[in-house]
């Protein structure tokens, strides 16, 4: 029954949105990390979504195809006293755009809520179907 596939679809969407929220959280937390384990400044991460077929009835869920590094240029801050400054006195700071990350967070949480509602509605319909004829 197609209604069962909706659980998988909604589940995959909630999973994907929560991964997106995870990357937003890491980006916001590391917005000022000038260095990291490999010696370079933190690069903002972004998720790439792709549709994937679920079940045999043609339903499409979402999955995270990749977590890529944001290709936008790093932020250079002039601070010659900083031990991490390069020869011209600039320190490479992360390329995290806080405004974009907040927008991402709001969009991800809205999508998550819609998917939870969708799952609840399908569950109600399935339970009502079980009590057919009584």
């Amino acid at each position: 029954m197609s209604l069962f596939d909706i659980f998988s679809v909604a589940g995959s969407a909630m999973n994907a949105q929560s991964q997106r929220l995870n990357t937003v959280a890491s980006n916001l937390a590391n917005a000022d990390s000038a260095t990291s384990a490999n010696g370079e400044a933190y690069r903002a991460k972004q998720v790439v979504f792709s549709a994937m077929p679920v079940g045999q009835n043609g339903a499409n869920g979402v999955n995270v195809a990749a977590v890529i590094d944001d290709p936008s240029p790093m932020r250079m801050v002039y601070d010659p006293k900083n031990p991490l400054a390069n020869e011209t006195g600039y320190v490479t700071m992360p390329n995290v755009n806080v405004v974009e990350e907040m927008v991402n967070m709001i969009s991800a949480s809205r999508s998550y809520q819609s998917n939870v509602e969708m799952m609840n509605t399908s569950k109600t319909l399935l339970l009502k179907t079980l009590s057919l004829g009584q």
């Binding site: 197609s2 995959s12 949105q17 549709a51 869920g61």
Partner: protein, 135 residues
Amino acid sequence: MLNRLDDMLNFHTQALRVRDQRQQVLASNIANADTPDYKARDLDFKSALQGALKAAPVAGGVMLATTTPGHLGGKPGLAADAGLLYRTPAQGSVDGNTVDMDAERAAFADNAIHYEFNLNRLSSQIKGLLSVIQG
């Protein structure tokens, strides 16, 4: 005789099946609201229901296998993409995604209510039959 029973319950059964299929298409749209290049789809309910009521074998539908002459034939199920159309987007989008969350959620709620209505009618038809049988 069994055919008469089947025919009586047929309309709402087929309507329920098509509503079920549509619910799933709308769910896929809502889940993929953020996927780049995803095109929103929808079922044309009227033509899908008419197709299902005519019981014409749809390409890709599942037929009940009848191996001996005494087997009762079943009605074919709905094919996975019977009558699926693309939704026209109200506004353009940079990433090629045509899902409009408001339209999809409204359609989802509407479809859910129609599903419950069909369940209700089917239930009262069955109860009517039961009350006739039990006298």
